[in-house]
């Protein structure tokens, strides 16, 4: 928690993150035409990126930090279930699905409170 208390830390963290992110874009630009995009190392990196993102999302839903910490797990899981059901039920409309899922979660919190 100490990092969040120092005012300069978020600025540096954002800048470091941005430099790392742009470095990938620049590397891709400079390598274009010279490296194949379907090599095994690219496939492995894709797996790692997806696994990391899935791990983060799972953690944000199951073990949230911040205001969602106070919400019941059942409300969050219900929000996910409704979001997924609406997404596939209504022709993969992501906008309607996220709104339905978030509303379900908030509704669940209201019911319990």
């Amino acid at each position: 928690m100490s990092n969040a208390d120092t005012s300069w830390f978020p600025v540096v963290a954002i800048l470091v993150g941005a430099v790392v992110t742009y470095a990938w874009r620049a590397l891709g630009t400079s390598l274009s035409g010279r490296l194949r995009a379907d090599s095994p190392i690219m496939a492995w990196s894709g797996c790692v990126a997806h696994a990391l993102l899935a791990a983060l999302i799972a953690r944000m839903i199951v073990l949230p930090v911040g205001p969602l910490e106070t919400t019941p797990m059942a409300a969050r899981l219900a929000g996910v279930a409704v979001g997924v059901a609406v997404f596939f039920g209504l022709g993969r409309n992501i906008l309607i699905a996220v709104i339905a899922g978030a509303a379900t979660m908030a509704g669940g919190v209201w019911l319990v409170a």
Binding site: N3, A13, G28, L56, I94
Partner: protein, 267 residues
């Protein structure tokens, strides 16, 4: 920011002769973005703005993040890891692993849009505006355009999307304050939900399916075990397991298809 129903989002009927000039191609890119892509992206960045507010960051921090990073998964990693007290080195590693996908994406797109007449720095400026949305749309649209109009089109599209994310970050930040607590909880919940749906929407590739399942399974327990390293470790272990399982399955498939005993390297 508002949806324009007159703009088609399906890759139907691109201009066979291009837009006529680089400037016209740039404007066409701008116009195309102000429609369905911008609305969906705006919803996800409104969630990000609310998330930024919920961890008590200032609005300039949120705007700076969207402006200089312009890749939402990495931006969320920075917010969450700063909040849980991780070190700069681990944050950099997690962002690098999360955003690596931008490298092959840029590589593929740049190979197709590079204009030999343009100055050498120009593609590097366009590169900052390449994100999932602009990449998908660009790949659909550029085959119909002359080479000289391709980078201006991608730049125009990216610029509109980039401005949208900045606006939406501010809107989400303000909304988190202005709406009842229940609604702002819903806004913060938009972020994980949006990415979860983006991931389940695109699981046709077996390797990706394995990676998402494995990552979701090991993510929470590894976070409890080691809050600092949990995310990076989850990505590396689950990603590597998924990669090997996929290789094995691919080898089995092709062995079955060939059924001639041809040996493939078992990776």
């Amino acid at each position: 920011m508002t949806a324009s129903p007159s703009e088609p989002t399906a890759p139907t009927g691109g201009p066979a002769d291009g837009y006529g000039s680089r400037g016209a191609a740039l404007r066409a890119g701008l116009r195309l973005a102000v429609g369905a892509p911008a609305v969906v992206l705006a919803a996800s960045y409104i969630g990000f703005g609310a998330l930024v507010r919920s961890v008590d960051w200032s609005l300039p921090l949120g705007l700076m993040s969207s402006a200089v990073a312009f890749a939402l998964p990495g931006q969320i990693v920075v917010v969450e890891m700063t909040h849980t007290g991780a070190s700069l080195l681990l944050i950099a590693a997690a962002v690098a692993l999360t955003n690596f996908r931008l490298m092959p994406m840029t590589l593929v797109l740049m190979g197709r849009i590079r204009d030999p007449e343009a100055p050498r720095w120009w593609p590097y400026a366009v590169a900052h505006l390449i994100a999932v949305t602009s990449w998908l749309v660009a790949l659909q649209r550029i085959p119909d355009m002359p080479v000289r109009e391709r980078t201006p089109f991608v730049f125009g599209f990216g610029l509109a999307i980039w401005s949208t994310t900045l606006t939406a970050t501010g809107v989400g930040y303000a909304l988190h304050e202005a709406v009842p607590p229940l609604v702002s909880l819903g806004l913060v919940f938009l972020t994980p939900l949006y990415f979860l749906l983006m991931m389940v929407a695109d699981l046709r590739q077996r390797a990706r399916l394995y990676a998402v399942i494995a990552g979701a399974l090991v993510g929470p327990p590894l976070h409890l075990l080691t809050p600092d390293w949990g995310l990076v470790l989850s990505g590396l272990t689950a990603g590597t397991v998924a990669f090997s399982l996929d290789r094995r399955a691919a080898a089995r498939d092709s062995a079955r298809a060939a059924s001639s005993g041809e040996t493939l390297g078992d990776v």
